[in-house]
Amino acid sequence: MRTKDLVATAISNTFRSKLRTTLTVLAIFVGAFTLTLTNAVGAGVSQYVDAQVGALGAPDVFIITQASDATTAGDGPVKYNAGSSASVSSQQGPPGTTTKALTDTDLTKIADTAGIVSVDPIRSVQPDYIEYGTGTQYEFSINATSAVTTADLTAGAQLDGSASEAQLVLPDTFVTPLGFASADDAVGASVSIGITDILGEQHTVNATIVGVSLESLLAAGAGANDALIAELADAQSGGIETAVTSYGVAVAHFDKALSADAVTALKADLATEGYTANTIEDQLGAVQTVINGIVGVLNAFAVIALIAAAFGIINTLLMSVQERTREIGLMKAMGMSGGKVYTLFSLEAIVIGFLGSAIGAGVAIGLGSALSAVLSQGLLSGLPGLNILLFEPTSVAFVILLVMLIAFLSGTLPAQRAAKQNPIESLRYE
């Protein structure tokens, strides 16, 4: 028998007892549907987290702060120490805590730590507004870490750290209010940023928009390159040089070649020196772990459903073999080999598996895409760029193949039984 004929026969046999096939397919459908959805949630969330990590910076970056020595309520006052007590309130510190500032001495100490390639302090600037041409002025903030991070762009290019020109990456929510027709339209335009210096006098600084970014959960505000930050900082200081420079946060690049263990060791080294170093993944890791856990549990349920469906397949095919005893006997009498009979029944199992999984995955994609669209407009509109259900072709294909494999394995027992049948016994079977 030709392979083509075997497949065609298997398919038409599958549809011979429609009700039974439908019920078995339904059981597989449930498992495949769930598995496709849970995988999509996992993929959607991790893609979002990856994009956020990308927005915050390269994987070889530590965000470094002074280890905050518990100045929380109940601990009593801490003695003043002229050397270490420079305090700044920082956006980067957890809410409700005060982070001690990093001084130039700290930066040298960090830079000298083995494994650290470079350290850059983050200078925070507080602009008042942004304005395009003579349009409306909008309140505006700049993300202090933007110079060292990668934005999730919708148009234009990333910031150029070495450029002498003042560059800006505009959050896409500003595009329409500022009077641009589209994100692409905004790229290349020159905007003015208003900033008030410490003496209360307002200045404006011009910057060129090089890109438009999606607003991200962890890096709110616009991006500015070093040149723009320097210009804004100069304007903000009002020409007065403060004697002691202090920064809330520093960004340190470490050696890219370091292994995960070495990175952990490096963090420990910095901790003993009194600094808290976190990679971007560390900051997001906790969230991702929880989501992965939930996805894992849901996947386990889906797999349990599939195992139950596998018994359904075994049952269906055993009944089918029983019912078709004579047909099998006849085919064997007419010279069909046991191997071919085995293949035929295995194929029937695979066809059932394919039907269930393809329909399950298809419906999951259809419903999921609709749901995802509704959620991103409603409940999840605060998280732009989050596609809660992301259906990756490879993972959908993997689910279908996995279910087909399970179906094939379930088909082995019935197929073996059919293949072993003695033609004479089968033809005598009443």
């Binding site: 028998m1 006849l330 009498a333 007419m334 010279g335 080999s337 033609p423 004479i424």
Partner: protein, 256 residues
Amino acid sequence: MDSQWVIDAQGLEKSYGSGASRFDALKGVSVQIAPGETLAIVGKSGSGKSTLMHLLALLDEPDEGTLQVAGRDAKSLSKCAVNGLRNKEFGFVFQQFFLTPNVSVLDNVILPLKIAGMGGKERRKRGMEVLEQLELADKAGNKATTLSGGQKQRVVIGRALVNAPRVIFADEPTGNLDTATGAVVEDILFELNRSQGITLVIVTHDEDLAARCDRQIYIRDGLVVSQTTSTHTGLTHTGAHALVTPEALSTAGGAE
């Protein structure tokens, strides 16, 4: 047709079950079938006719005795070779129709060709030829279950001859049919023998059908009790079993 293509069975024994429930269905049967002849295996119900036919058709293996097909010992043949023989050289008409329900008449007829691996177009063409030959072409698309008994048996014969076999084994081909329909089916079989030289091995308890064959062997309780050869005028007793008592004949031929 190849004159060496002889089925030669010597001392076939076959028993079913074991211990107390052991039943010897065949107790040493020797048969030779020459190419192009028609042979009737006659006997009462339970005498072992079907069992013998199954052994001759390589559907089952004897416990004792040897079977040679076209000069080769059946025991020496591989499983694959046996499957090939049954698929290409033999045609089968079983005691029941064994048509696949809910499958078209044409698809039932071309099953052996499908198993042989013939292409779809080619096998449908051959199937239609056979159905035309059997005057069933107009039923080709019908489901097998919608046919009358006689039509079903003709489909079964179509399935048996679609692969242009050398030998057709027919187990009670007219057993399920009324006399008139039975006669039509008989005519078809003997016409195949005459025009295409297909060897016929017919299991029957119908004395008239047996008489139309070239040769008859009578079986009783797993043993050959007599062999006869027919001429156009009637029966001629031959060989070791030439002396057949009228009693033996009547019991053999009088099966229900």
